[in-house]
Amino acid sequence: MIKELLYILVFPGFLFVSIAGLLAEYVDRKLYARLQNRIGPPWFQPFADIIKLIAKEEVTPCQANPRMFHAAPLFALTAVITAFLYTPLWHTSSPFSFNGDIIMVLYLLTIPTLAFFIGGWYSTSLFARIGSVRAVTQLFAYEVPLFMSILASALLANSWSLVDIVLFYTRHPWYWCFNLIGFFVSLVALLGKLEKTPFDIPEAETEVVAGAFTEYSGKLLAFLRLCIDIEMVSGAALLAAVFFPFGFFQSAFLSFVVFILKILGIIALISLLRTVVARLRIDQMIDFCWKLLVPFALLQILINLVLKGVLR
C-alpha cells in the first residue's frame, strides 16, 4: 500500500514527473534559444515561472463559470501525471500494468485538450472561446494518425499492454526499425497535441491573445503550464517506450538513464521541429494531417500486417 502510494506521489509519480516536466521545459526553451543563436534562459527559469505564478493573485472573470473554470486545469494535470505511471521506466515492468493500458494512456493524454476546451469555453472570453474551439478542431486532425501509428507498433507485438510490447521488442532486438515511419508520424502528431509551433494555432498569440488560457492567471495558469510540460514528458515517454523499446539492462539504474536519454532525444527533436517550421493555418493543418499523416500511418499498419504474416 505504502509502496504504491510512494510510486504515485513521489517516484515516478507526482513529484518526480513535475520536476522532470519543468526540466524538460528548460531543455526545450534552451535548445530553441540556441538554435536561434541566443543564449537562452538559465536552468531554473521554469521553476521561477511556476513559483511566481503560484504566488500571484488568481483572477476569476465574473462572467465565467467558477466551478468549471477551476476544475479544468486540475483535471488536465491529473490526467497527464496518471499517463506517466503506466510507462515502463527502468525495467520491463510497471506495477499498474494491465492488458489495454496503451489505450488508456492514449486517452489520458487526450483529456488535457478537452480540459483546455472546457476551461476556455467557460471563461466566457471571446479569445478563449476561439482558442478552445481551435484546440478541439485540431484534436480531430492529429489524434487519428497518432492512435494509428502507435497502435501499429502494438499490432506487431500482438498486445495492447505497454509492458508486453516492450518485452516483445526486447525479445526481437531489431524489430523496432520497422516502426520508424510510425515514429515520425506520431512525433508530428505529438507536436499538435502539445500545441507546439507548426500546430500552435489554438494559442497563437499574434492572433487570439493566448487562446484557451487567455483568462487564466495565478495558480490555475501554473497548473496549466505544468500540465503542458508534463504532457511533453508523458508523450515523449510513450513514444520512447513504444518505438525505441531497447536498452533495458540488468541494472535498473543504467536502463533508467538510457530511458531518460531517449526522452531527451525526443524532446530535442520536438524543439528542432518547432524552430525550423512556421505556424500553419487551421485548414492547412487539417489538410496536412488527413492527407499526409493518415496515409503514412495506414502504410505503417499495412507494413506491420504483412510483417506479422512473414515473420511468424
Binding site: P41, F44, D49, K52, K56, G218, L221
Partner: protein, 159 residues
Amino acid sequence: MNLVKKVVTWARIKSPWILHFNTGACNACDIEIIAALTPRYDIERFGIQLKGTPRHADVLVCSGPVTKQIEDRLIRIYEQMAEPKFVVAVGTCSCSGGVFKDCYNIKGGIDTTIPVSAYIPGCPASPKAIIDGVIKLLVSLDESKASPKTIKEIPVGGE
C-alpha cells in the same frame, strides 16, 4: 514563512512577464521596445517574456503620453492584471507628457492615470535603457522587501 517570502521574491525577480501597451506614442518607443525583445538583446536570459494578455503579465510597459481616448482603456488593462503588478513608463512622453504636454487631447504622463513603478526617459528610450530600467525595478523589489509602493521613490525621470 520568511523563507517562503524570500523564494517568492526571488521567483518574481527572475520571471517578469511583460505586456506592451501603446498609450498614444509616436511609435518610436514601440520600435525600441520591440527591438529590445529581439534575439539581438535576448531578454529571455533574464526570464523576461512578452505575453499577449494582461492576465499573465507582471509588468505593464507603457509608451507614449496618455491621450484622452486611451485613458479608459489604460485603466481597464491595468485593472485586468493580477497582483502584484508593476508599471514601467518608457520614453519622455510617458514619463511626463513630453512635447505633447498641455495639448488639448493629452492628459499627461502615465502617472496621471495609474501608479508607475519605474520611469525610463529618452526620446526614444534605447533598448539597453529599457532593459536596464526593468532590471533596476526588479532589483529594487528585492532590497525594499516591502509593498511595491516604495519602489516609486527610486528611479526618477521627466518632470
